[in-house]
């Protein structure tokens, strides 16, 4: 079949992804097939990072990809790349799932989770070990400790910033600004422009 579209590391999709998604919005299944090839890996990676459970991650990743087909018409190329749009959707769905799934047993577990089991440093380590792209890892290292913790716990663990604040025992306002400052520093380090 068609070759997968190259997306390696680029902030915007490789050639054609944006255009392909526009075609998907018009019901082009072949275009969707190519979009799928380009985004399925990152989509699953994002979802898996947050959910961890492989079966559930696959299920959510599938939902995301179907939703991409259904809602493709909402994608506006002027507002960002198709890849950003897709992975933002994937991350949200994963976070939705982790928060709603946790809700049931949360009351008891929350204390334990926030109380530091597993040790929070391990969590960050574990997350970072999964990062395949050296550049992202290197750039994460340019953040202050608190910036890095805030950003990774929110993105890779799906924690709300209130939870991050609780976990790190810092004021809410501090976490808010660390998330922003951390992302700004990452943006500059990675050379992201949008």
């Amino acid at each position: 079949m068609k070759e997968a579209i190259h997306i390696t590391g680029a902030p915007s999709a490789g050639p054609g992804l944006d255009e392909l998604l526009v075609r998907v919005a018009r019901g082009d299944q072949q275009a969707f097939s190519r979009v799928y090839d380009a985004v399925c890996g990152p989509v699953l990676g994002v979802v898996r990072g947050v959910l961890r459970d492989p079966a559930q991650s696959e299920e959510v990743a599938q939902e995301v990809l179907v939703e991409l087909w259904v809602t493709a018409a909402r994608y506006q190329p002027s507002r960002g790349s198709a890849l950003t749009w897709t992975l933002t959707l994937a991350h949200r769905r994963a976070v939705d799932r982790v928060r709603s799934a946790q809700a049931a047993v949360e009351r008891e577990r929350k204390a334990a989770r926030l109380g530091g089991t597993p040790a929070f440093d391990d969590v960050v380590e574990q997350v970072e070990a999964r990062l395949e792209r050296e550049q992202v890892r290197r750039c994460l290292r340019t953040l202050t400790e608190l910036q890095r913790q805030s950003v990774t716990l929110a993105y890779y663990r799906g924690l709300a910033y209130r939870e991050v604040a609780e976990l790190l025992a810092v004021p809410l306002g501090t976490v808010k600004t660390r998330m922003r400052d951390g992302l700004i520093r990452l943006r500059d380090c990675l050379g992201v422009n949008a």
Partner: protein, 271 residues
């Protein structure tokens, strides 16, 4: 610290610092809605959100995984069976001011995510004879956590607002198998609440979906996670010029347009 942010300028400055948390999906629901409203009037924030969002995506790309090959055939099979949203839906929504329970930003639409919609169902205070309705969300969405509680509180308030509106009108119908549906409509608030009782849980992971009837066209208005009891749902979206409400059974996640005959159709009371 931020001297309790006096006035709108202070609030805006405070909101502006949420760009990072927003890009990381780390805001609670209420804050997210507020922030999205702010985004609409703050081009600088919107630009920053775009950049930080693209940055967050790099974090995601860095953790890419290889999906099982069977996943593709499942997805391809599924997409050939679901209908896509027409482009005009996007245009219409872009210009709409988000109501409280409604997420405005295009990539953030949650209509298809059954579990989130289920979480929107909330316990609610009674209006006259309408009994307090016990909420039970779908399996995945068993409400508890602060997020859900916050959402429920807001949803409850929104429900109560409709049900206590001075111009509220109701209409009921049988939905088969002993189930009944009632719609409460407030033209003034431009919102409607659907009250269901005795709806059996649909089989095969399917869901009940609500629709606004705009003449002949059906507009999605949210999913019901029925548990057979009595439940109330704030219908998604504004009533607008809708002339009635329909209920259908749809595949998990809902459909952009009805795929089955309605269990029931209710015309709004006129006048």
């Amino acid at each position: 610290m931020s001297a309790a942010a006096k006035g709108a300028a202070g609030r805006d400055a405070e909101l502006h610092t949420l760009t990072g948390a927003y890009a990381l999906n780390a805001l609670g629901d209420r804050e997210r809605v507020r922030f999205e409203q702010h985004l609409a009037v703050c081009p600088a924030c919107a630009q920053e959100v775009r950049e930080l969002g693209a940055t967050a995506v790099r974090l995601g790309l860095a953790s890419s995984e290889v999906p099982p090959s069977a996943m593709k055939s499942r997805v391809m099979a599924r997409i050939s069976a679901v209908r896509q949203e027409p482009p005009k839906v996007a245009a219409a929504e872009a210009g709409r001011i988000p109501p409280a329970v409604h997420r405005a930003r295009p990539p953030a639409r949650r209509r298809l995510a059954g579990f989130v919609l289920a979480a929107c169902a909330a316990g609610l205070a009674a209006l006259g004879g309408v009994a307090v309705v016990q909420q039970r969300a779908a399996d995945e969405a068993r409400a508890e956590a602060r997020e859900a509680a916050e959402l429920a509180r807001r949803s409850t308030r929104a429900l109560a607002e409709v049900l206590t509106a001075p111009d509220v009108r109701t209409r009921s119908t049988e939905l088969g198998q002993g189930a009944a549906g009632t719609v409460a409509l407030s033209r003034e608030r431009d919102r409607a609440v659907f009250l269901a009782s005795g709806l059996p849980r649909p089989d095969g992971g399917r869901v009940y979906q609500l629709w606004f009837a705009d003449g002949d066209a059906m507009r999605p208005a949210g999913l019901l996670a029925s548990t057979g009891g009595a439940e109330a749902f704030l219908m998604e979206g504004a009533v607008g010029r809708a002339t009635g409400v329909g209920v259908t059974v749809e595949p998990a996640g809902g459909s952009p347009a009805p795929t089955s005959e309605p269990l029931g159709l209710l015309s709004f009371p006129s006048g």
